[in-house]
Symmetry: C2
Subunit: 240 residues, 2 copies
DNA sequence: ATACGCCAAATTGCATGCCAGTCTTATCTC
DNA sequence: GAGATAAGACTGGCATGCAATTTGGCGTAT
């Protein structure tokens, strides 16, 4: 499968773009893949050394990520990967639910044939990963599924906003994927969304997608509640 | 009235924040107020001279604005204020409609008393400006009205996204305000939204707000269609 | 007269150096 | 022995200088 996630990670040295754009891209991928976790501190000099550039492009990249909300500035104490509170996280899911619902509705009207095949492929990859209990594969295929719908909306503004938001909550989304049963219940939900899009029923696509993403948020809420009841607060800070 | 727009413009030298944050803020205001129009080129040295800083903070500010989508990079040819196509603009309004609808629904459940007064004040300022045919005053009061609802949602993620989107389409929104009758029809729509929020009816608030913003987009569409029919394409490029 | 090519000026991208504020540690005093 | 204070190292913020690329103009040739 040619996933956007994987393809991004496979190109550590894109010579075409500027150095700062390169750093933005690579940092996004690192955060998306969970290699840098919320709360991690981002040291300019360390990053400059890691990416083999000077501090200037690193600083510019961090500014861009800060504007996206992916990293937060702590004044003179440097920057760190954004750490969402539980309330923020649930709010983020409510926003994501609306935006993905809108994307589904517009995709139902605007999707092109090549994106149909891409969506079908992503859906099948999700099914296969769920059957094989391969969480990482499912995570990537799921990303591809949602990304395809976002692109199929042919709404550049929406696509940009959704991408920003997706990256921001991706570290947390990953932990949801690990919840038992979550993968299996996603499959029929994805199927319903895809069917509605394919038959051009924007209202249905929007409704099912909104429910799907809202369920994800509730799943997260349940998980946190469970962990909190188990008494170990540190697990929460560790997982999310 | 204490408008966010006016207060921002009245503080040309905020000494508390960093220089780059300062430049971000002042550039946003200039774009928001229409002093810099879509397509305008942004020269690093000129900006550095204007704001009395070196190029570095200016560059960092531009990076942040680029990440927000407010300005676009054209490679070695510098940056310019983002110029939305007609399709982009209509898409942006569809996104804004959904986000403002969500904000209204959540505000209906979460609004606090001080924001109630702020919302009432903004609504009355809108009415007064509409009666007095004061377009600029209406523009600011309208901004305040929507901003208050966004803040009253107490959804930080939503507030951020909405703010970004609002700034992006604000130059175009201003031209809509100048449409005859647009101010007058906004008043009862605002009133319905406010009433629904005050009685805690999130579903109604959301529905009315979605219709309100969608109407704005359609008003823009009508305006453009009219201008196109009049044969002068340049007016379109000039206005939007 | 027009078109093609080359040179110069300007502008962006990146690196480096210096400064200011913050955190840490060690020493001194109570 | 413990706490407070001061000094030093560290880190982010900004300015400036250099390299690379684009653009505009001018000259020449067709």
């Amino acid at each position: 499968m040619r996933s956007a996630l994987r393809s991004a990670a496979d190109t550590p040295a894109e010579n075409t773009e500027s150095l700062s754009a390169n750093v933005v891209h690579r940092l996004e991928v690192e955060i998306l893949k969970g290699q840098r976790r919320p709360g991690d501190r981002l040291d300019e000099r360390q990053l400059a050394e890691q990416f083999g550039v000077s501090r200037t492009p690193v600083r510019e990249a961090l500014q861009r990520l800060a504007a996206s909300g992916l990293v937060v500035s702590r004044g003179r104490q440097g920057l760190q990967v954004a750490q969402l509170s539980l309330a923020d996280l649930l709010d983020a899911f409510s926003v994501a639910a609306e935006l993905e619902a809108l994307a589904s509705a517009q995709a139902a009207r605007r999707i092109r044939s090549e994106q149909r095949s891409r969506l079908e492929a992503a859906h099948e990859a999700c099914s296969a990963a769920a059957k094989g209990r391969d969480v990482d594969a499912f995570y990537e295929a799921n990303f591809e599924f949602h990304e395809t719908i976002s692109a199929a909306s042919h709404n550049r503004i929406l696509h940009d906003e959704l991408r920003r938001l997706t990256v921001k909550i991706s570290p947390y989304r990953r932990t949801i994927t690990y919840q038992p049963g979550r993968m299996d219940s996603s499959i029929p939900e994805h199927g319903q969304v895809m069917d509605a899009i394919f038959r051009g029923d924007g209202a249905a696509a929007s409704q099912v997608m909104r429910a799907h993403v809202t369920l994800l948020g509730e799943g997260l809420s349940d998980l946190l509640h469970f962990l909190r009841m188990s008494g170990d607060e540190n697990i929460i800070a560790e997982l999310i």
